[in-house]
């Protein structure tokens, strides 16, 4: 999967995605999911393009949908997307200390989602359905059960080492 830099939108790639969903307006969410998979976020240009290309849509509608759903991000996400579950079970078993440990480790300021080097982004999700393993973190698609501040720090250390960024 290639990652594009912002402001350089390859419209042929967008056309391909739109076509694979039959250019149908009802497939907008799936189209945006695919676009986000490619770019790791929804570039403004891409949303405008989709909004003008598909019949029955406008850029405003696309923006509306993109901002409604928590999954979509208008800012680039990191190579490693960290999700901290703060569902009921995780919350009562201490998901907040885990979250704080990640914020400290990545030096994330209040409101900052992606680490300065663009490697990690952090998201709180409501429930991943793995309540028996609470508290749970997910990095990309890998589930890390029964997390503690120390355990998640070790996970991040390993990833940083792999990336040679520590």
């Amino acid at each position: 999967m290639s990652v594009e830099t912002p402001h350089k939108i390859d419209t042929s790639k967008l056309d391909e995605i739109i076509k694979s969903y039959d250019s149908k307006k009802s497939n907008l969410i799936a189209i945006l999911q695919k676009v986000q998979e490619v770019y790791r976020y929804l570039p403004e240009e891409a949303m405008i393009y989709i909004g003008t290309k598909i019949e029955g849509l406008s850029p405003a509608t696309v923006f509306g949908v993109a901002t409604f759903y928590a999954q979509f991000s208008l800012e680039p996400k990191g190579k490693y997307e960290i999700k901290v579950c703060d569902g009921t079970a995780c919350h009562v078993r201490g998901s907040m200390p885990v979250l704080n440990a990640i914020r400290n480790k990545l030096n994330l300021k209040e409101g900052q989602v992606t680490s300065d080097n663009g490697l990690f982004s952090l998201e709180i999700v409501s429930c991943l359905g793995a309540c028996g393993l609470a508290p749970v973190c997910v990095v990309n698609d890998k589930v890390y059960p029964q997390m503690t501040s120390d355990a998640i720090s070790m996970v991040l250390d390993t990833l940083m080492k792999e990336e040679g960024s520590n």
């Binding site: 009802s26 497939n27 969410i29 949908v65 928590a70 979509f72 569902g87 409501s126 028996g132 890390y144």
Partner: protein
Amino acid sequence: MALNIDIKEEQKRALEDIKQQGLRVLVCAGTGCVANGSLKVIEKFKELGANVGVLSEYDKMTTVPTGCHGFCEQGVLVVIPDKHVTYVKVKEKDVEEIYESHIKNNKPVERLMYVDPKTHEHVQDDEHINFYAKQTRTALKNCGNINAESIDEAIAVRGYEALANVLKENNPDAVIETIEKSGLRGRGGGGFPTGRKWKFTAANRGGKSYIVCNGDEGDPGAFMDRSVMEGDPHKLLEGMAIAAFAIGADEGYIYVRAEYPLAIKRLRKAIKDAEERNFLGKNIMGSDFSLDIHIKEGAGAFVCGEETALIASIEGERGMPRPKPPFPANKGLFGRPTLINNVETLANVPVIMLNGADWFAKMGTETSKGTKTFALTGDVNNTGLIEVPMGTTLREIVFDIGGGMRDGKKFKAVQIGGPSGGCLTEEHLDIPMDYDNLIKAGAMVGSGGLVVMSDKTCIVEVARFFMNFTQHESCGKCVPCREGTKNMLKILEKIVAGKGTMEDLELLEELAHAVKDGSLCGLGKTAPNPVLSTLKYFRDEYIAHIKDKKCPAGVCTAMKKVVIMEDLCKGCTKCARTCPVGAIDGTVKNPHHINQDKCIKCEACLKNCPFKAIVLE
């Protein structure tokens, strides 16, 4: 209608295939166990099992990756039915021992068995593990017992038999009648009678209509729908097909949260396999009935569990609810009549059709029939997914199935039904839990999330937690929900921070009623429930936060006060050196003092004091 498939023959063949597998070793491959490393356990078993011919009674063993057993915390779970054994917390390195000792030489490995928290004894099989012993599994029956990715194994356990019968008899009204008679009610939360919902939609037979399965299980703390979709996807597809036949739909959607990638993967495979066998698609089993099922992935919006919002989301729009009527039964997806049922509801349908309405109606209470799944979490010994007859008491769930309170903590309450539900206390331990009794107690079955709380859980904090959730998830369409939840949250945050007043409490209650009465959809109408029910049963705790500035559970940091007991302090200066914010003053050999304005309550001093002179007040 004559069918071109003899399902009984298919079943026989599938059972024969299973027999050919020899000794079956079931390894859980649900989300929980995969996170605990079950894929490696499976690989290891497969590697060892390739050694055909060394087993005493079997000429072969087969490792079967199954769906969720529900006992996620004890994962990885390995079940060998023929040996009547369930192994828990199995790691890759344990596999060889199980193989050598138990599979080859018939000597069970005791150290990998479940330990009963009460008797401290090792328990060999499910029938005796307290967690399973009191359960009645119908919707979850096959989860964990079959290979979740094999349609043949689903057929072997009577999968698609009910659909074949229904198509053979070709009487949609009789199907609706059976469901109505069974007393099945919607398992997604509301508890609306399923048969009646089908009838409303069926009244519009003739044109295009849709069947939609609601798999947007957004309630934090509930995961029964995920388990069904991952562990027994064919049961869901069969339930959908029967429902579609009954109401005259030929197209269906399953709306699944994007947070459930494994469920989406298994469902996609199941749909493809079912189409290949002609259990879905055109002219199913040679009948006149056709059904195409698509999967729609959600994108992270709790409100999409509300049926009109879900419809908007499938149509590719912002998932905002709209007023009812018109009900989806008349005007739903793409403006056509639409039946929307929850995953667990649909998973009950094939079982009811096979065993009859009376069989189902025998389970449960007067007004709530059958069984219900609950996601049991929190401060109990056994956490996981359970299924019990409606009317089971809370005491049985917490103290028998749940194995009692964890770490000897004291039972305080359970929060049932997630952000839409309420709490139940000691006085409710013995009421039979069903839709109506719970509503009477100010709670609701909801999706079935059940969080057990001890005296170490702050009830005000829990109410704040849920309000924070619903406030975030409010779609913003109607004012009572959008503004009301925001202000309720503000008040709760104020109380938790030790800055609340008694007037705040009154305002909170007033707002709660306004939001409940004035909101457009179920999200807003039920959002105040956690506040209202905790106010009803734990008002004292709210007042303690407000008047005494104390958190009785010792949870709320703002109320915590770390102090040094002067008579015990030797003036060793260790605490002053440990404190990360320099909040501790004092000179050597003289009692130290904590500056409360600077203290961040990290308790580092408390943990490091060699004389135990620092305490939490």
